[in-house]
Amino acid sequence: MKRRDDEWVSLLVVTGATLLVAFGLIALVGSNLMVAASSFLRGIFGSSYAMSEVLVRATPLMLAALGVSIGFKTGFTNLGAEGQLYMGAIAITATALVFPGLPPIVMIPLVILVGFAAGGAWALIPGFLKARFSISEVIMTIMLNYVAINLVGILVRTSLKDPAYPYPMSPILPESANFMQMLPPTRIHAGLVMALLMVIAVHLLVFRSRLGFEMRAVGLNGRACLCSGIQVNRATILSAIAGGGLAGLAGVSEIAGLHHRLIEGISPGFGYVAIIVALLGKNHPVGIVFASIGIAALQIGSMAMQRTAGVPTSIASIVMGALILFLVIRDSRQSIAILEGV
């Protein structure tokens, strides 16, 4: 019981400290604190549209973070969700443009599959190189992010370019490749459902399946797995593929649910924020649901704060950094002792 109380106390302390930082900075730029605070809250809870936006933004974060977390479980440090997301986006665009006539019932599963495969394939490269040649996946995934982003740049100017316009973007995808809008006029789309299904799938995979057990075991003690006759490389590679695939689905979901065409910059760093989401969610599928919604709300709220109260976005960046640091401090075992001591 006491333990639970401490959790709440420390959470309050974190919230307080973050608010203090935020208000301090806002006061420094001379914005009105009340306006800023109310616009922050209004941006998140102000209307059903505002709340829906939080979920819209949480969708790709959730998917990508699930992917990242699977990698982390196996000890595969996947910093490449950004690139894998873009590969998924490329895949759905190419597929939908090549087979424009397919009915939705075929098209949707197809693009999901292809998007998953593309993201997975992109992660397979570092996964294979790590498993086979022990080449650092940290660097490899970062490098492949840059490559994927530039690949999008090339494709939207060449083979996937909309011939009708000079702009570097693909044509609008056929309707059949669109995810259902669930609650118009909000932008919530079937991608959210897909993400939640994936939460369950990942939970089953990681905590219920034999493969998931092997992945976790490999992440905790690869050598022991080797000695026990568990196929370590297979587990590493499969976790890389599954993780990359999930990030690829984030790309599919963004295109099919929101943009309906491939264009540069569809991800404002979702792949990187996903790493934070995964870690804050303690690499646990359910934790990731909350962490992704929390981080999405923070971002949506601070953008609203900027729009209404003129608070610079840099403050949001500071607050996000500070909040994560505070949470990290809270999570460390010792800090609980410190809080108790105070």
Binding site: P168, L258, H259, G265, M303, T313
Partner: protein, 310 residues
């Protein structure tokens, strides 16, 4: 949903893709908004760093707050504007440099190429080595058309001029911008130009350091390096905003793609500042004459939106 304008002053919001002080594309829009605010007594708001993923949400938020005009500064804001516009018929939407429109959403395209053409002429005229350089940010229409017009302008003065061009795939990597410029200088270019926003500052700094000449972009950039920047293109966003505001006020704002150039006072070139006495009169006259022909419509600068690599 919004009601009809209750307050006397109009409310205008601006979406920027990067920081408002990027010394280029966004800075000029921001300055334009502020100038318009002062001049016409507008109520304004702006958002920095609005990515493609956030454009729609930003439009929606401003529209639902009852803003009369919401401007997205960049082609990527076109689609979101159109998508949001149907839900907020009382709000007018605008995307700069885009090509899509709806009943209450319009695209305004600035004929940046007109100024760029003059910059090319000036650069070619002032080059002693017969080599000049142009650094572009991303390879996208709004940038490509400037680079291409620049090349045409230069060739019109000196058909044998060599124009080095590079797209650095960044609007923010100042160091890379500078390095690109130095690479051109190393190959003998003695006038360096840019359309690379923030990264372009690096180009000007490189020219200054090497004792070369430069031209600025978007607004009078002479202050960055007074002894280096001969002249700059000017994209007058206040004029653009004014144009739109007026239409909104007298109820004539409508969808469509509008091209605004020198004739509309939206595009121009800056004064020569300290270079007034350095640039030969013949060059000044040539440029003034060309500017005149553009203004009176006798010269049409082509808008080339895909790179023609020589």
């Amino acid at each position: 949903a919004s009601e009809t304008k209750a307050s006397d002053s109009m409310r205008v919001a601006l979406l920027l893709s990067g920081p408002a002080n990027d010394q280029g594309w966004n800075a000029v829009a921001f300055a334009g908004l502020k100038a318009a605010e002062e001049k016409y007594g507008l109520q304004t708001a702006y958002s920095e760093h609005v990515g493609i993923a956030d454009g729609e949400a930003a439009y929606t938020d401003y529209a639902s707050q009852g803003y009369d005009l919401v401007i997205g500064h960049g082609f990527q804001f076109g689609e979101p504007a159109v998508r949001v516009s149907s839900r907020f018929p009382n709000t007018k939407f605008m995307a700069i440099e885009s090509n899509v429109y709806s009943k209450n959403a319009a695209s305004y395209v600035m004929a940046c190429e007109e100024a760029a053409y003059l910059m090319g002429m000036l650069s070619a005229s002032m080059s002693k080595s017969g080599k000049i350089g142009m650094v572009g940010g991303f390879e996208q229409p709004s940038i490509v058309k400037v680079v291409e017009a620049y090349k045409l302008g230069a060739k019109s003065v000196n058909p044998s001029i060599e124009v080095f061009e590079a797209y650095i795939s960044s609007f923010t990597d100042v160091a890379l911008g500078k390095e690109a410029a130095i690479a051109m200088a190393d190959r003998g270019a003695d006038v360096l130009s840019h359309v690379a926003n923030q990264a372009g500052t690096g180009v000007i700094k490189a020219a200054e350091e090497r004792g070369l000449l430069a031209t600025g972009d978007s607004y009078d950039q002479n202050a960055i390096a007074p002894g280096t920047v001969m002249c700059s293109t000017i994209y007058s966003v206040p004029m653009l905003v004014l144009n739109a505001v007026e239409k909104v006020q007298n109820g004539t704002y409508e969808g469509g793609v509008f091209y605004l150039g020198m004739q509309d006072g939206v595009v121009d070139i800056a004064p020569y500042n300290s270079f007034d006495g350095i640039i030969p009169d013949s060059v000044k006259t040539l440029i003034a004459d060309t500017r005149e022909s553009i203004l009176n419509g006798s010269l049409k600068i082509p808008m080339i939106e895909t790179p023609t690599r020589n």
